[in-house]
């Protein structure tokens, strides 16, 4: 089923039997598609958690000040 690597040299591999442009542009698009749709949501996730943290710190501080000010 797996015969062997189909190429005897690196330049032959790049050439893809004369279809270098077509084969490589498809695999490049595929790579961009994969990376973008994993990395963007991961980055967004980090960003949301960071905002969440900041909001919590601000909330805690205002609570602290309020307690400090209160006369009771």
């Amino acid at each position: 089923m797996i015969d062997a690597i189909q190429f005897s040299s690196f330049s032959e591999f790049i050439d893809m039997g004369g279809y270098a442009f077509n084969v490589w542009s498809v695999y490049a698009l595929f790579a961009v598609f994969l990376v973008v749709n994993i990395m963007l949501p991961l980055r967004r996730h980090k960003q949301i958690l960071r905002q969440q943290n900041r909001r919590r710190i601000v909330n805690n501080e205002t609570e602290y000040i309020r307690k400090d000010d209160g006369p009771e």
Partner: protein
């Protein structure tokens, strides 16, 4: 009811936290195997030469792109009937990912067709045009969501569009059998190594299809988790995260 728990965003978030490392691991294994196999070991096709390597990607992405509308329709019905918030979040993120899948299907097909058919595009081909329609329909769903302030109305309209999209999915699927123009029908699988579509081609494609479906799930889960955090940011369990 059993799915009231399933519909809880918190439950989904915690469950996927456990699943994600495994899903990502499996996805990386299948995609790397698929790509290396296709690019290095796949023998040239007797008619197409090495452009058959394009089809390994094209078939996997095109096939899985058909699952978006059925998924969105089911999610839409669940949203409308049982008002499950999680289903609506999945429907929203699926539409965006579906646009990517449809675009890549059209692009890879076009790049293959430019050398094998001698044309980048053919308006009279039903498969090509119905796939283009799916791309526009998904774009419509995405822009409808961002245009409508009323999220209840948006969910209803999107559910309706998803059902139209499902009819189109059937048309895409059978277009190559109903109208015989340029796009070839699906090739029959063959166990024989003598066949032009013997195991060396379809096993490589099978590995890629599994990899692409895993990728679809991972990306969908990641975006849905973000959607959960944004919509539920006022609830205590989200505030305790991070």
């Amino acid at each position: 009811m059993w799915f009231s728990k399933l519909g809880s965003p918190k439950w989904f978030y915690e469950l996927t936290s456990k699943w994600l490392p495994w899903l990502i691991g499996a996805m990386v294994i299948f995609l790397t195997t698929g790509v290396i196999w296709a690019l290095l070991y796949l023998p040239p096709d007797y008619q197409q030469g090495f452009t058959s390597r394009i089809l390994v990607v094209h078939v996997a992405v095109a096939g899985s792109s058909l699952s978006f509308f059925p998924l969105m329709a089911v999610a839409g019905i669940i949203t409308l009937v049982w008002r499950m918030k999680l289903a609506d979040m999945v429907a929203k993120t699926a539409a965006v990912l579906g646009v990517w899948f449809s675009f890549l299907t059209l692009a890879t097909g076009s790049i293959w067709g430019s050398v094998m058919w001698g044309t980048w595009w053919e308006w009279s081909d039903s498969r090509l045009v119905s796939m283009l329609f799916q791309f526009f329909l998904l774009m419509g769903v995405v822009s409808l969501r961002s245009a409508l302030e009323d999220s209840d109305k948006a969910a209803k309209l999107c559910a309706l569009l998803s059902i139209v999209g499902c009819i189109n999915v059937v048309i895409i699927k059978y277009s190559v059998e109903w109208w015989n123009t340029l796009h070839q029908p699906a090739s029959p699988l063959s166990m024989s190594t003598e066949s032009p579509n013997g195991p060396e081609f379809w096993v490589a494609t099978g590995v890629m299809i599994i990899g692409v479906y895993l990728f679809l799930s991972v990306s969908l889960i990641l975006s849905t988790r973000n959607e959960i955090l944004e919509r539920e940011r006022r609830s205590q369990w989200v505030q305790d995260l991070g």
